[in-house]
């Protein structure tokens, strides 16, 4: 008996629908871009429940924060190889939010509500702080990571391990005006409308604290240097007669700016925030990175590394450098954020394991809130999550300078090998 045409069509339609459903399910599993690592497959030493930890980072679609992930993974892998925290292996997953609020929200809910992550470690995202603040508070989820927006520094559940663009910028201004003493400063900033108002507020505050400084600041240019060639901004700085250019950009762009400066004949010192720190920069710039390469006004290429330089003699930094080399992790500001975030997290959990259930979100949050100050070896001040409604985190940077093809600690910093902001910055006006 032959099958009727209608049944044939129905069967074909059902097959197609099933195939589509399978494809959709497969793509949904892939679209969160999540991946797990951290040694859970290695088997817990004692069979204790793992500590499930997640990370939301902007890996694509914006700045190159992607190295945060292997930095975090490297630390957790090391800890798991040592038996975990109090016998608990750390199970780590991460996702790329692509810099979008919708993706950040989706990932947070996926990890916390579905995967039962008890904390977020290493988050470095353009969208996470603004999008998920109330969600983390409601779910008792603690976050330790790289702060990129003002809100990362003003939430009760968020601890930024870096100085961030605001403490970092004030540090940069302090060092510039006290040590470099430029005649005319041009700032070339990121075109980020959400951060400009607070930046302007801090500038006004800093100029009021330091009479005479305002006169040296010639102009602020805003650029989207992720897509725009820096040559026009640099040519403009030359036309204005600037002998120092302050940047707020990542390492590849900083190299582009300095190359552009050479091509247009701008004779100036360059200084950028910690996001410009990467161990590959001196080799890439070559002789162009040395003081005087651009002209007599060029005192060198400086960066305010918010975490210690990778070639620091500190044993904790050296441990990181050695581990990164073994694991093939690139050594830059972002991988350091991942490592230090994980290190601070583990330190708090080791201390709190005897008092709290560190396999639950509330237990982890309590352990962090009650942790002792943690000397990471990377920062200007000890790190301590604490119970406050905001956590300014790291309040200093290590000013570095390129000399003879490598980063060296710059001279005359106000706290030994760090430049520190004494006290707290004014809070952002709403």
């Amino acid at each position: 008996m032959s099958t009727s045409p209608r049944r044939s069509i129905m069967r074909r339609s059902l097959t197609l629908a099933a195939a589509a459903a399978i494809a959709l399910a497969a793509s949904a599993c892939a679209s969160s871009s999540s991946s797990s690592s951290g040694g859970s497959a290695g088997g817990a030493a004692s069979g204790s429940a793992p500590i499930k930890v997640a990370q939301i980072t902007t890996i694509s679609g914006g700045y190159p924060f992607g190295a945060v992930v292997p930095g975090t993974q490297a630390y957790f892998k090391m800890i798991n190889a040592q038996g975990g925290v109090d016998g608990h292996q750390i199970q780590f997953v991460y996702g790329d939010d692509k810099g979008t609020a919708s993706q950040a929200a989706e990932l947070a809910r996926l990890y916390v509500l579905q995967d039962h992550a008890v904390a977020m470690v290493g988050n470095t995202s353009l969208a996470d702080c603004n999008t998920n603040a109330s969600f983390y508070a409601a779910q008792d989820i603690a976050v330790i990571g790289g702060g990129t927006e003002p809100l990362c520094f003003t939430q009760p559940n968020w601890y930024p391990v870096n100085a961030g663009p605001y403490y970092g910028k004030v540090v940069q201004w302090q060092y510039t005006t006290r040590v470099l003493k430029p005649t005319t400063v041009c700032e070339i900033e990121q075109n980020d409308p959400t951060s400009i108002p607070y930046y302007n507020q801090l500038r006004t505050w800093f100029e009021a604290q330091n009479p005479g400084v305002a006169a040296t600041f010639k102009e602020i240019t805003y650029t989207n240097d992720a897509t725009q060639n820096p040559t026009p901004a640099v040519a403009h700085a030359k036309a204005l007669g600037c002998d120092l250019v302050e940047l707020s950009t990542v390492a590849p762009n900083m190299v582009a700016f300095i190359n552009a400066a050479k091509s247009v004949g701008l004779d100036a010192t360059f200084i950028t925030l910690g996001s410009g720190y990467d161990t590959s920069v001196p080799a890439t710039l070559g002789a162009l990175g040395d003081p005087g390469a651009l002209g007599p006004n060029d005192k060198g290429v400086f960066v305010g590394a918010e975490l210690a330089a990778v070639n620091s003699a500190n044993p904790q930094v050296q441990l990181m450098a050695k581990t990164f080399k073994t694991d093939g992790v690139p050594a830059n500001f972002w991988s350091e954020i991942g490592w230090v975030s994980a290190a601070m997290f583990v330190s708090a959990l080791k201390e709190g394991a005897a008092h709290y259930n560190i396999t639950t979100a509330s237990g982890v949050l309590q352990a962090l809130r009650n942790m002792s100050p943690y000397n990471s070896g990377f920062a200007a001040n000890p790190m301590q999550f604490g119970t406050g409604n905001s956590h300014p985190g790291n309040r200093g940077s290590q000013m570095l300078l390129i000399q003879n093809g490598t980063w060296v600690v710059a001279p005359d910093q106000n706290d030994g090998s760090y430049e520190v902001v004494n006290g707290l910055l004014p809070t952002a006006k709403s």
Binding site: T221, N224, T227, Q228, T231, A251, A256, S263, V281, P330
Partner: protein
């Protein structure tokens, strides 16, 4: 303003070269190639791999990159000729968008956020014009783009091969029946455009962020220049590319700098309004 305008020659040269290739591909192959910037970027990345893996110097790695760029174009041309030769312009153009996404995924793996020293045959020398240094490489690129536009148009009009290409663009099936090697010519145009795009991107790389999507994005501004030439006139497209680069350069450091990327759109709208003004006014009367 003069300094900023001259600084725009850096980007303008790239836009001009890419715009010429976009018009060429549209006229000859009936495709608006959104992947051209990505193809050039991927070819340029090959120079980095040549230095990293084989230790080649600037000249051989540059030549190798251009060759790789041409091969990338040839491979894509073969695919297009095999599967989409008789497809509509819209479908072929859509395919190039898919190609762009794929190439960006590959390019992102090569440029992983670190800094790289690309071989640069035009590094260093600049000429002072009105007190601003203008890279020699950019001046050469602008001149080369204009010469390319003129040269290609002369080639298409005055040579036998050019006539074949024009025939292919008008009536590909008829041309094929008359013995014109349509697929071979298609592949040649893809390879040529990709090689030119590779050279264009390599000139601007030292002052570009090494974020691969930003290299692929260059085609957006070049498309604006191509539209200025109404996707027909390569010389106007090349001049348009230079003008867009210079205009963006003036706007970027100004108070409206955050709208720099809208410059090509504004220019196109103004040109279109001016070009259609007689029709509009006649209708109004």
């Amino acid at each position: 303003m003069v300094a900023e305008m001259l600084a725009g020659l850096v980007s303008g040269g790239v836009y001009a070269a890419l715009a010429v290739c976009i018009v060429l591909m549209y006229q000859m192959l009936g495709v608006v190639n959104f992947a051209l910037g990505a193809m050039g970027g991927l070819g340029a990345c090959m120079s980095l791999l040549c230095v990293r893996w084989f230790g080649l110097g600037p000249v051989p790695s540059t030549l190798a990159a251009v060759a790789c760029g041409a091969i990338i174009g040839i491979v894509l041309g073969l695919l297009m000729a095999r599967y989409f030769l008789e497809a509509s312009v819209e479908l072929r153009t859509t395919v190039t968008i898919a190609i762009t996404v794929g190439i960006i995924a590959v390019g992102d793996r090569i440029l992983d956020g670190a800094t790289y020293s690309f071989p640069n045959l035009f590094a260093g020398p600049s000429i002072e014009i009105f007190g601003t240094g203008v890279p020699v490489g950019s001046l050469i690129e602008v001149a080369a783009a204009l010469l390319l536009a003129v040269g290609v148009q002369v080639f298409l009009r005055r040579t036998h091969l050019g006539a074949q290409m024009r025939a292919m663009s008008e009536r590909p099936i008829t041309a094929g029946l008359l013995g014109i090697r349509v697929r071979t010519l298609t592949v040649m145009v893809w390879g040529f455009a990709s090689a030119v795009a590779t050279i264009a991107v390599m000139v601007v790389l030292p002052t570009s962020t090494t974020s691969f999507p930003s290299l692929a994005y260059l085609v957006v501004f070049a498309l604006g220049a191509a539209l200025l030439g109404l996707m027909r006139n390569m010389v106007i497209a090349a001049v348009g590319g230079v003008l867009i680069g210079m205009l963006q350069s003036i706007v970027q450091p100004s108070a409206i700098g955050r709208y720099t990327e809208a410059v090509p759109f504004v220019v196109i709208v103004l040109v279109m309004v001016w070009w259609r003004r007689r029709d509009v006014w006649s209708e109004a009367r």
